[in-house]
Amino acid sequence: MKSIKIKADNLNVYYGEKQALFEVSMYMEEKQVTALIGPSGCGKSTFIRCLNRMNDVIDICKVQGKIEIDGNDIYAPDMHVEQLRERVGMVFQKPNPFPKSIFENVAYGPRIHGIAEHKSDLEEIVVTSLKKAALFDEVKDRLSDSGTSLSGGQQQRLCIARAISVNPDIILMDEPCSALDPIATARIEELMGDLKTEYTIIIVTHSMQQAARVSSRTGFFHLGKLVEVDKTEAIFSNPSDQRTQDYITGRFG
């Protein structure tokens, strides 16, 4: 068994009066891909956004319970959210490169964290990150072009490069392929396979096939509750809950 990287314990999340997550407890293994599936509005995005505290920006959002990364409570008062996000990168549903050059997109993170001392270090980080995101060959001649001039799939890989530029342990992916065509999706999935040797990846997805292809463990969310979490093969071949069974066989969702 792999060592546990992230552990959520009894997590309740409220948006104002409305409760979005109910007593979610699960763990995620290091250097594995964990997929979160479920119908729209089931709370899987809310859950993933708790892991790097992106929900903090929503005034009315309130988080109860505990999330530990490497045994440290990320909601502890002495935890700086900027430091947390340096360790827990995120890729969003819609590609959101900065309207700056490709180079600047990747260099931004290292620069604000003071990771690169010299310009040459920064260039090396940018090149390495772009290579890891399997984008370097396509853009190496036009690093000064705007990041927004790339195609959708390239933009999303640029966002992945941006996320890994600060050398995180964990990468959160919130439906990273939902705005992409099948070919671009296949490239991102392939990339995830490479990245999991170095990073712990959590992916929220609408596509059950995608979850089955890329993940080792899968959690099924429904109406704000974590219905079931298990090895991916087990979830898709022999789910223990009737609702999971119904969802993966396409009876709802």
Binding site: N52, M54, V57, D59, E82, Q83, L84, R85, E86, G89, M90, F92, K94, N96, P97, F98, P99, Y108, G109, I112, H113, S146, T148, C159, R162, A163, S165, V166
Partner: protein, 427 residues
């Protein structure tokens, strides 16, 4: 079946006709608005363009009569020249145009063909050419406003003499000078350089241009940073609660406050309580800043709001602080919009008159201001001042000032469009 098709075609024709009618209404509305703008421009231009040239009369000035040897001028300082008594010498130079005139009354009439500063003009000529003055020099002296207007054809010569400011004998002199080729036009540089004057032919718009520029500069320095920071705080950092709602409503209210109220505020607080100097661009700028701020804040907030939230999330997700996300990513994208709003606000301030009347920028100021702390007029107030004057010279100068004002406004709006085009983020 064919019935049905026919019915459809009828209905389609109806719809297409109504679309045609709608287009005609729209084009009509646009043409109407455009026609008024054209009429306005034509009207102002046709009555104002003549202010950009002026009538001068060529006079031979025998400097040898003033001094034994004209090379001595080169050794004199400007102050020495100022101390020379030149009034009767200058008058005599003018009398030489018509050596036959004997009567004092006629001589007076002749002198009145010229601007009252003729002595000063000869002195200035002497000062700037003192090193090579010949025995006699040809100097172009400014004609009086009446002559200027007669020459430009703006003056009804066929009125009865007692209804005219310019007398028959003066017209005789003038026509004779024209025949002798001594009357000419030149570009009216003094109009652009000088301050206001009681003499229409000497009044210039330079003082109010500089006053307006100083005022706008003060507005820019005050309202741009304050407006941008206020907008950033309200849009990006302020919690959404009753207090910020209240502030938001009041900023919108502030934008709708009649400008004269800001003038009263300036009079009561900035002049009387704080004791800042009256009639100055500094005070005018402060008052107009109050008026411009809401415009800038509203425009900046709108352009901040238009920045996709995903950009903020992208920055936050790599560990940027809130401030870094805003300053590095959101503000640069919003900047063209904020600048456009600022320029439009400044253009409004440039044309604003009422508040300036209350803080005393309506004063008669002859000197061109050197600093924002000097008393000064401004372009719109100059229009207001001159539009009340009876002399014909001021009529064309009023229109010419409006032309200058419109010119500045068009330039600023053009700048706003260009900035938006050039720096707008392409997604």
């Amino acid at each position: 079946m064919t019935d049905r098709i026919e019915q459809r075609i009828n209905s389609l024709n109806k719809r297409l006709n109504s679309e045609k009618r709608f287009r005609i209404y729209c084009i009509g509305a646009m043409s109407f608005a455009l026609a008024w703008v054209l009429i306005l421009f034509l009207n102002i231009f046709s009555s104002g363009y003549s202010a950009f040239y002026r009538t001068v009369i060529q006079v031979d000035v025998p400097f040898l009569n003033l001094i034994e040897d004209t090379t001595q001028f080169s050794e004199m300082s400007s102050e020495d020249i100022n101390n020379l008594s030149m009034y009767s010498f200058s008058k005599k130079a003018i009398y030489r145009l018509f050596p036959d005139i004997e009567e004092k009354k006629d001589k007076k009439m002749l002198i009145r063909l010229f601007s009252i500063e003729f002595e000063q003009e000869i002195r200035e000529f002497l000062k700037s050419n003192k090193s090579n003055i010949n025995e006699a020099e040809t100097i172009y002296l400014t004609a009086s406003d009446d002559v200027d207007q007669v020459n430009k054809g703006n003056y009804p010569r066929d009125l009865d003499e007692d209804k005219r400011r310019i007398k028959d004998i003066q017209l005789l002199f003038f026509d004779d000078l024209v025949d002798r080729g001594l009357v000419s036009y030149e570009f009216n540089l003094p109009f652009l350089m000088r301050g206001d004057s009681r003499e229409p032919e000497l009044a210039g718009v330079g003082g109010s241009i500089v006053g307006s520029l100083f005022t706008i500069l003060v507005v820019l320095i005050l309202s741009f940073p304050i407006g941008i920071f206020a907008a950033i705080y309200l849009e990006e950092f302020a919690p959404k609660n009753k207090v910020t709602d209240f502030i938001e409503i009041n900023i919108n209210n502030l934008a709708a406050v009649p400008s004269i109220v800001f003038g009263l505020l300036g009079l009561g607080i900035i002049l009387n309580t704080f004791g800042l100097p009256r009639s100055t661009p500094l005070v005018g700028g402060i008052v107009l800043s109050l008026m411009t701020l809401p415009t800038i804040i509203i425009a900046t907030r709108a352009s901040l709001r238009a920045v996709p939230p995903s950009i903020r999330e992208g920055a936050l997700a790599v560990g940027a602080t809130k401030m870094q996300a805003v300053m590095h990513h959101v503000v640069p994208v919003a900047m063209p919009g904020a600048l456009t709003g600022t320029i439009i606000g400044l253009a409004q301030a440039l044309g604003e008159t009422a508040p300036l009347l209350l803080i005393g920028m309506v004063a008669f100021v002859v000197d061109v201001p050197q600093t924002p702390l000097d008393a000064s007029a401004s372009l719109p107030v100059q229009v207001y001042l001159w539009s009340e004057s009876a002399e014909r010279g001021y009529v064309e100068k009023t229109s010419a000032t409006i032309m200058m004002l419109l010119g500045f406004l068009i330039l600023m709006n053009l700048a706003a469009v260009l900035i938006r085009r050039k720096f707008e983020t392409k997604w």
